[in-house]
């Protein structure tokens, strides 16, 4: 099959493949797909067979006159067109919508304590990046979500502006972020690793480059990470330039910069990518970003700031130190 | 021609003229439009805790219902006008239509007055309540305004005598009025519903 082959080539962690599930929910959906594919192949095959049989008869000499309808053919229509679909559709409908919905949604409040999500994360969609908060801690990050592995996590999603859609196909189905409402989705990962996600509702110029990663870590590592993220900035010296140019939009906790127009940069140095997976978090890429964000990501909300080369490299150096 | 019996059965036929069918299609689509707007009203209403929102007065019942009564009262003269028309009594037809026209115009004038009054208290741009309130009422009353134009036009035509074409138009326009009256009732009750 082409699909699995492509998967192997792409390698784990840099795919967002519906058919490479890493959770019970996503597995349920993927196996449903394969079942439906087989059913569909049978359905299409049947129709193709009838048409193929007609093709075989294409040169049969004709009887003069026009043929009327006949009962046998009507019977075929009723069985194949009415009876069989009713059975097939009912089966699909019951299976998919009663059993599978249970597997892909969060347990209700009345569920057994062991099933209830151990952790809640808030994700807010912005044009064109993701704000991530861990309620109960001071940790705020962007575009890179960390969760403990093999733990059900409740994600509460909302939006700051237009509709976005939060989607990590290898972990679960998607959920829209709609103004005026908070939606919930279950996130669960079977195995440690990095899972790619992407905004799935058209949200404007950079909808294409509004990606994010979910990192599933063993619990201790996750705890350590969270503690680091909750702490204020590692370094405050050298922040003056930042405060004067960037504080109108960004927050660095511990420095007098607190604005949430753009991502929280308190620990930006610890992220692997910048600008919602548009560029890697390397010195060169960061410099390019600071020089001309509109070239890197045209239409993003971060303006060109007319910094000198020296200022750019000083800022880059400072940001990189915020680990 | 006689082979089809056309002519004999034709004019006495009980079925409606084409124009009536055309009006029926127009009414069907316009009724759907107003139904959708009414549905919008209730959708928004159930999305809001306070309806109307704080600072906006609950509509009063008596005056709008009386005004609506004017419009409904015009149904009778319209109906009588159609009867007179079918009997080819031109003066009576015009007379009844003028009576209806006066009532309907009075309704519209009072509605406009009501808008002016309401606008001083809340604006369409104040909240979703105001938005749907004015849009829904305005849509219904626009249909009344169109009806007035249609009646005026018909009167101008009838002034120069009765023809089959004008009778068909009379059937179609009267049907339009019945429908608009019914729709206006629904719409008015909808916007008055917070007071009911």
């Amino acid at each position: 099959m082409l699909v699995p082959a492509a998967l192997v080539l792409a390698g784990c962690g840099s795919s967002q493949d519906v058919l490479a599930p890493h959770s019970r929910s996503a597995r349920g959906i993927a196996s449903l797909w394969w079942d439906m594919l087989i059913g569909s192949a049978l359905g299409l095959g049947l129709v193709a067979l009838i048409l193929g049989a007609a093709w075989v008869r294409r040169n049969e000499p004709g009887v003069p006159g026009v043929r009327d309808g006949d009962r046998a053919a009507l019977g075929v229509v009723l069985v194949l067109g009415l009876a069989v679909p009713i059975v097939v559709l009912s089966a699909l409908f019951l299976f998919a919508n009663i059993f599978l919905i249970r597997d892909t949604t969060l347990p209700t409040a009345s569920a057994a304590a062991s099933d209830r999500p151990a952790l809640t994360i808030r994700v807010v969609g912005h044009r064109f990046w993701w704000e991530v908060r861990y309620p109960g801690t001071a940790a705020v990050t962007a575009n890179e979500i960390h969760i403990p592995v093999r733990t059900p996590v409740q994600v509460l999603v909302a939006t700051q502006d237009v509709i976005h859609s939060f989607w990590v196909p290898e972990l679960n189905r998607k959920i829209d972020m709609i103004p005026g409402q908070v939606n919930r989705v279950l996130l669960y990962a079977d195995a440690p690793g990095r899972y790619r996600g992407q905004c799935a509702e058209f949200c404007g110029l950079q909808h294409a480059q509004m990606g994010f990663y979910v990192f599933a870590d063993p619990l201790p590592r996750f705890r350590a990470w969270l503690a680091r993220q909750a702490a204020p900035a590692a370094r405050t010296s050298g922040s003056a330039l930042f405060v004067s140019h960037c504080a109108s939009c960004h927050t660095i906790r511990g420095v007098s910069a607190r604005s949430d127009v753009g991502p929280d940069l308190t620990h930006v140095g610890s992220r692997t990518t910048l600008a919602a997976l548009t560029i890697p978090n390397t010195h060169a890429a960061l410099v390019q970003w600071l020089r001309d964000p509109q070239r890197v990501k045209p239409g993003s909300a971060m303006p060109v700031l007319d910094l000198t080369d020296a200022e750019v490299s000083r800022l880059a150096g400072y940001l990189e130190s915020l680990r | 021609m006689s082979a089809y019996g056309i002519g004999a059965a034709a004019r006495g036929g009980r079925e409606r003229p084409l124009g009536w069918w055309g009006a029926a299609m127009l009414v069907a689509t316009e009724a759907t439009l107003l139904a959708v707007m009414t549905a919008t009203y209730f959708y928004l209403r159930f999305k809001n805790v306070a309806w109307p929102p704080r600072g906006v007065p609950v509509p009063t019942l008596v005056v709008p219902l009386l005004v609506l009564g004017l419009l409904l009262a015009a149904t009778t003269p319209v109906c009588l006008g159609v009867r007179a028309g079918r009997a080819r009594r031109r003066a009576a037809t015009c007379g009844w239509l003028i009576v209806a026209l006066v009532l309907q115009a009075a309704y519209l004038a009072l509605q406009l007055h009501q808008y002016a009054h309401d606008l001083r208290r809340f604006a369409p741009s104040g909240s979703a309540y105001g938005s749907i309130y004015y849009t829904l009422l305005g849509a219904a009353d626009a249909h009344v305004a169109v009806g007035l134009l249609l009646t005026l036009w018909l009167l101008a035509k009838l002034a120069r005598g009765i023809t089959r074409y004008r009778l068909n138009a009379l059937e179609a326009i009267s049907f339009y009025w019945y429908a608009v009256n019914a729709l206006t009732v629904v719409v008015t009750l909808t916007v008055l519903s917070p007071a009911l």
Binding site: A10, L51, A53, F93 | T40
Partner: protein
């Protein structure tokens, strides 16, 4: 044989004005059908060019053919153009207009001038929309234009005004056409054509017309709200002021889902004409198919929220809509098996039109099956807004709604032009388009499963998407080549094709009983009908000829037309039809001017033009048919 004297008289009565003026003022349904045909082809070309631009941009990751701003306008315009300015006007406007009166044995539609008005309004709405694009204000928030992305705050240009006004404008035309078709099919049938003898083609167009009539108001209301939100400051969609974001989606899809059946049902109708003609067999399960055509649109009004499975509305609601979506499948499966068993048990002759219908059935089943998959809510929540959905709807729109249009172009070509097309080239064009379409849209399923969202102007390499996108792009150009061959064939045939007889296929319905191309008055004598396949009732047609020779039932005292009773199709009266009028185009001009000034927020001028519009309407009705 010299034409009988009544025919000469008819020729005189129905003669069109000569030259361009004749076309501008025509009310002849055939001429209007042709105008629609040419106009929609231009839009199809535009939509196709936009499609190829999309494919070129996506041929490689990080491509720079289109920037994000251009891309957003191009894909939005592509969707809008193909749906509202190609398929609907091509099926209803061109095919319906030309063929419905011929099939029901009428001389024109019930309201010929209204029909002309529809066309001019339609054409003007297209010009309006594309003016926006060329001014740099092409609609850019997707064809379903979700708020708040489409609100003034996030889309401050005039782009969305061209969307809202353009669509309101366009839906006026569609509504008029729909009303006209319904009344015509209800009231203008030939004597003897009772309801159960209406050709399936007309049932299909009846269903589409009802769909339009009841679905478009929801869109119009939605568009009005959006226009007001953007320009007057109302708050229909603004949750901060008591509005609701999802209101837009509910109303849009309440229109949008019936809309997709409106796109496909005329294709069903075309299929049910071509299949009997090329198998010389009446449709199996005729009444079931007729009911299915109506039912699919009817149930289609109850499934809209299946486009909103990921919006977080309560699960019970979702399950209800999934159930309704399962029900809407049944009429389609009935039809699929009715078509295919009819082909199988008939005497199939796989000429180009039938080939396109076979392709249509296969694509419809394939696209329908992915549609069924979306009934599984979790699967839909996984796949929605990915290329898997794009694959679903292009299979079912391009494969299933457009293929019968192509087949129909070949099938009725001899009737409309009086010439035959070249069969060999026709079959080659079918195979190229069939292969190209699969190459174009099949990989979209895979790339969707690999996680590629739709509406992205670029994508990263390394996710395994590139190869499929390359294939799709190649498929796009192959398809385009096939389409060019198709039109090339028709154009050359128009000038060079062998002369066609009146009835080259031994077709089942009345249009084949008249000369090719049909005369202005369609039928010299009012035909009598005693089955749903009247052209196969040789005795009836012989009767027509005898009547003509005897000069009976010709209706030659003016442009006359029979009006029939609603159920039995019994003749009720004879009415005079308006014949050629300048008013429709004048009204359309006023309306266009009004929309143009609305787009630039000149409301007083718009009101003034509205007054002018009323005056033109008065002029329209100044002359009564009896005096004409």
């Amino acid at each position: 044989m010299t034409p009988a004297p009544p025919v000469e008289r008819l020729e005189r009565i129905w003669a069109p004005r000569p030259g361009v003026l004749g076309w501008l003022t025509t009310t002849d349904h055939k001429r209007i059908g042709l105008l629609y045909f040419w106009a929609t082809l231009v839009f199809f070309g535009a939509g196709g060019v936009e499609a190829l631009l999309i494919r070129t941009q996506l041929a490689q990751p990080h491509n720079h053919v289109l920037g994000p701003n251009a891309y957003d306008q191009v894909f939005t315009m592509h969707g809008l153009t193909m749906i509202f300015w190609f398929i609907i006007p091509m099926t209803t406007g061109a095919f319906g207009n030309y063929l419905i009166p011929l099939m029901i044995g009428a001389r024109d539609l019930a309201f010929p001038r209204l029909n002309a008005l529809s066309f001019w309004v339609f054409a003007a709405s297209g010009v309006f929309l594309y003016t926006g694009l060329f001014l740099g204000f092409g609609p850019n928030a997707g064809w379903f234009d979700y708020v708040p992305l489409a609100s003034r705050l996030y889309d401050p240009g005039r782009n969305i005004e061209f969307y809202t006004l353009g669509l309101i404008f366009n839906s006026i035309a569609s509504t008029l056409t729909a009303a006209n078709f319904i009344v015509s099919i209800f009231k203008c049938r030939a004597p003897g054509m009772s309801f159960n003898r209406i050709p399936l083609f007309c049932f299909a167009f009846l269903a589409a017309s009802f769909g339009l009539l009841f679905a478009l108001p929801a869109l119009s209301a939605d568009l009005v709200y959006l226009f007001l939100d953007r320009n007057v400051g109302t708050h229909f969609f603004d949750p901060a002021h008591g509005g609701a974001t999802l209101l837009w989606q509910h109303l849009f899809w309440f229109f949008g889902h019936p809309e997709v059946y409106i796109l496909i049902v005329p294709a069903f109708g075309i299929a049910t004409e071509i299949i009997p003609a090329f198998t010389q067999r009446k449709m199996i399960a005729f009444p079931l198919v007729a009911i299915a055509e109506l039912l699919v649109v009817f149930i289609g009004f109850g499934v809209w929220a299946h486009h909103m499975f990921a919006t977080g509305i309560p699960t019970v609601t979702l399950v209800f809509f999934a159930g309704a979506s399962a029900m809407v499948v049944i009429p389609s499966t009935i039809q699929v098996f009715a078509w295919s068993t009819t082909i199988f048990t008939g005497l199939p002759r796989f000429k180009t039109p039938l080939l396109f219908i076979v392709g249509f059935i296969l694509f419809f089943v394939a696209g329908g099956l992915t549609g069924i998959m979306f009934i599984a809510i979790p699967f839909d929540q996984q796949m929605t807004d990915t290329y898997f959905v794009v694959a679903h709807f292009h299979y079912i729109i391009f494969g299933a709604a457009v293929f019968p249009i192509f087949g129909g172009m070949y099938y009725w070509f001899p009737k409309v032009t009086g010439r035959m097309y070249f069969e060999r080239a026709g079959q080659v064009s079918f195979w190229i388009i069939f292969a190209g379409t699969n190459l174009l849209f099949f990989p979209m399923h895979i790339v969707g499963l690999l996680g590629m969202p739709r509406r992205v102007y670029t994508y990263p390499s390394g996710l395994g998407w590139t190869i499929y996108n390359v294939l799709e792009t190649i498929g796009g150009f192959v398809t385009a080549a096939g389409i060019l061959l198709l039109f090339g064939n028709l154009v050359v045939s128009y000038f060079r094709g062998p002369r066609a007889e009146p009835d080259p296929w031994h077709g089942p319905t009345l249009e084949w009983s008249v000369p090719s191309p049909p005369p202005e008055y369609n039928f010299a004598v009012v035909p009598t009908v005693s089955s749903a396949y009247p052209n196969w009732d040789a005795a009836d047609r012989e009767l027509d000829r005898q009547r003509l020779a005897a000069g009976a039932g010709v209706l030659d005292e003016g442009p006359e037309q029979v009006v029939s009773s609603f159920v039995d199709g019994e003749t009720q009266e004879v009415v005079r039809m308006p014949h050629d009028s300048p008013w429709p185009i004048l009204v359309a001009l006023c309306l266009s001017a009004m929309f143009a000034v609305l787009a630039v927020e000149k409301y007083t001028v718009a009101a003034f033009l509205g007054g002018l519009l009323v005056l033109t309407l008065v002029g329209w009705h100044a002359k009564e048919p009896e005096e004409a």
